[in-house]
């Protein structure tokens, strides 16, 4: 039998923080069915987390999983999935992070980590050489994610240790808390940082000196270099290398992305921000602060700008800036002060706050303030007026530490509105209980994907592929949306299975699957991978069915998007209407084989895709339609 290394590290570590024990399981137990990455993570959470418990119950499982291609020369294949119960709604929680953690985890001998229980005192995991150790983290608790990485590397005397850490936000179980890797890469959304904090787990430190192999090496390298060739011929590559994504594409003044929608202007009052405001934070303005770009593991794009503000109240430096940063710290608050926004972005990294979710709760509060539902007496003296970037920055600090008004917002806008009342519920932008970044009135397909996403309110379940770079329909068209979204959902699952990044432009799925097949030593083509992707998407949906009471009623956007048209810009007047949305739901459910009346999965639909066991479990809980 060959001792050649495999593309799998080979082990899943099950860590019980209550008992302080670790056991290993072969990755192959799950990989045959789920391949790896996010789909395999979902299966691990499906098996580990009992229905009916809260997200912060020790029995909840927090699962880290490296994409299958992590650790190889496959381009931009660094992504790690982090899956658990969602801190906003107890349903499916999932986040995805780049950087170097995933590759290092595999070199250290593990494909996945399943963390259950709750440690009696703050701990961190030290993962290396096929072993997982639980270590005391008193010297880290209370520190930022940046300081945490530094202290671990110093204590263990190795600057190549990769750290996934929570900051004060996760420690305080703030629902919008995230997990930060490499200082600027975020596993954000679903409150995974809060889940980690609820376990008294401060960080996971990894150092890997082992090898990751590929089954058919020469074929793999040929496919990789064919893909690199395509990337190098992509028309924007020269610009993006050196300027980063925002500098070359997303942030340029003439970028159509400013008009495509999904921009949450003033908490969703509008989806277009106006050229003069855009100019204040555009790529052209950012150039003065950019000192180059940095890459994640094995990435030939280098989308991340390294930004420095050398002096002044917002002096800071760090890596990363994307369209979401512009949305969360600028458009959402009418904030044209770019330095404050850059500062806010890197502050959220240090605090361990997901920028999108944190900003969403705060922008709800700003709109409540605008309408006099709260006053500065409620907000610790802060004036939450549009454009007040000092108040935004102050609120991020309060939020992370649950200080004063920050505590009021720390459980998300849905719960805050329930407490406040006074009609403040109308200003909540959420899907399935999770604060949600995106406007959905202009880009209909993007918005449909956001609302249908099993991971509540995220645009990373099929919105991106078909509806970002566009299809042949106009951006505000409803045409073909249900079918295109279905394809996008499957494709995203394959992407997250293999672990490649959405910013690796220039490639199609058919460029990735030969790389994956050669790595795995199998003969799967794109359709075969998409079949597993479809299963993965259905497993996330089934998780929600088991852990929540979500049904068709939860697949609608908030009322604002029906009642208030886009206020300005090229798509002024766009809004959603119920009959069209209903028709899209009917069609999308039919395409999936789900019950049209309830939106739940059916026995025939799940059986047809080889998930009869999932159907059985749903049936035992009364959450399956027996047709």
């Amino acid at each position: 039998m060959s001792n050649r290394p495999s593309v799998y590290a080979g082990r899943i570590a099950h860590v019980d923080l209550t008992s302080g024990t670790v056991r290993h399981e072969p990755t192959s137990d799950y990989a045959r069915r789920w391949i790896g990455g996010r789909p395999l993570n979902t299966a691990l959470v499906w098996d580990a987390a009992p229905p009916g418990i809260s997200w912060d119950d020790p029995c909840n499982a927090l699962v880290f999983g490296a994409g299958v291609l992590c650790g190889t020369l496959a381009p931009g294949s660094a992504r790690v999935s982090v899956d658990s119960k969602n801190a906003f709604n107890d349903g499916m929680g999932s986040a995805n992070v780049g950087g170097f953690f995933g590759a290092e985890l595999k070199f250290a001998g593990f494909d996945h980590l399943v963390i259950t229980g709750r440690a009696p005192r703050p701990v961190y995991l030290w993962v290396r050489d096929g072993e997982v150790e639980i270590r005391d983290a008193d010297f880290l608790w209370g520190e930022t994610t940046w300081e945490t990485e530094h202290r671990i590397r110093t204590r263990l005397s190795d600057e190549r240790i990769r750290v996934a850490a929570i900051g004060p936000a996760g420690e305080n179980r703030v629902r919008s808390a995230c997990i930060i890797c490499d200082r600027g890469c975020s596993a954000g959304g679903s409150g995974c940082g809060a889940v980690m904090g609820s376990k008294n787990l401060k960080a996971v430190a990894v150092r890997g000196k082992g090898a990751i192999g590929v089954a058919r090496a020469e074929e793999f390298m040929d496919a990789v270099y064919a893909a690199i060739g395509k990337v190098n011929r992509w028309k924007e590559i020269r610009n993006i290398r050196g300027a980063g994504f925002y500098g070359a594409l997303g942030g340029r003044l003439e970028s159509p992305a400013w008009e495509w929608g999904y921009r949450p202007v003033r908490n969703g009052q509008d989806e277009y921000w106006g050229k003069d405001r855009i100019a204040a934070i555009s790529a052209e303005k950012m150039q003065a602060y950019r000192k180059g770009t940095v890459s994640c593991f094995s990435c030939p794009i280098s989308c991340k700008p390294w930004l420095e503000i050398p002096a002044g109240e917002f002096a800071i430096q760090g890596e990363g800036w994307w369209n979401n940063s512009a949305n969360s710290f600028c458009t959402k608050f009418d904030n044209t002060n770019l330095e404050s926004a850059i500062y806010a972005h890197y502050l959220t990294n240090q605090l361990g706050l997901d920028g999108d979710d944190a900003a969403q709760a705060i922008s709800w509060a700003f709109e409540c303030y605008e309408h006099g539902l709260i006053t500065s007496a409620d907000t610790d003296g802060l004036e939450l007026t549009w454009g007040n970037h000092d108040a935004l920055v102050a609120m991020l600090n309060k939020l992370a530490r649950r200080e004063g008004f920050g505590d009021f917002l720390a459980d998300g806008a849905v719960r805050a509105a329930e407490r406040l009342g006074k009609g403040s519920e109308q200003f909540v932008i959420a899907v399935k209980g999770q604060d949600s970044l995106d406007g959905v009135r202009i880009n209909k397909g993007w918005g449909f994907g956001v609302v249908l996403s099993p991971v509540a309110g995220r645009h990373l379940r099929g919105s991106l592929g078909p509806f970002w770079q566009g299809n042949e329909n106009p951006v505000n068209s409803y045409k073909d949306v249900p079918a295109l979204l279905l394809f996008g959902q499957k494709e995203k699952a394959v992407q997250d299975m293999l672990g490649y990044c959405s910013y690796v432009y220039g490639l199609k799925l058919e460029d990735w699957t030969p790389i994956a097949a050669a790595a795995l030593g199998c003969d799967m083509d794109a359709d075969a991978f998409l079949d597993v992707g479809l299963k993965a998407h259905n497993l996330e949906k089934a998780f929600n069915a088991l852990h929540t009471n979500f049904s068709r009623k939860d697949d609608y956007p908030c009322d604002r998007y029906y009642n208030e048209p886009v206020a300005s810009g090229p798509f002024k007047g766009e809004r959603l209407d119920h009959p069209t949305w209903d028709a899209m739901l009917d069609e999308h459910y039919r395409l999936h084989g789900w019950d049209v009346a309830t939106g739940l999965q059916t026995r025939s639909g799940l059986t047809a895709i080889g998930m009869a066991d999932v159907a059985d479990r749903l049936a035992r809980h009364g959450r399956l339609i027996e047709t």
Binding site: R4, P5, G71, T72, L73, F100, F107, W146, H150, E159, R183, G208, K209, G210, A211, I212, G213, V214, A217, E218, M221, Y225, I228, V231, N232, R241, K291, G292, T293, V294, S295, C296, F297, S298, C299, P300, S302, W306, E308, Q317, E319
Partner: protein, 84 residues
């Protein structure tokens, strides 16, 4: 054959380390620990350092140095016209 290094172009992706280890493994696997070159990155100012150790054999047996081929940012290259 001699290599030149331009750390200013380096983005820290580590593709060079992966490629080097692939060479040393006999085209079997990726293992940065086994690489002859090491890329280090400052968190203070993003500057990169690229250093080779004595285990570099100039990619003996390869058509050209794998680290150079792997780098898409022009941070590594082969000096032309220099005797081996």
């Amino acid at each position: 054959m001699r290599l030149w290094i331009d750390p200013r172009k380096c983005t820290g992706c580590l593709r060079c380390e992966l490629a080097c280890s692939f060479h040393h493994s006999g085209h079997v696997s990726f293992q940065p620990e086994r690489s002859s070159l090491r890329v280090s990155r400052s968190n203070v100012d993003k500057s990169m350092r690229i250093a080779f150790d004595d285990s570099c054999d100039g990619c003996a047996g390869e058509r050209s140095p794998l680290c150079v081929r792997a780098c898409v940012f022009n941070a590594l290259g082969v000096h032309k016209g220099v005797a081996a």
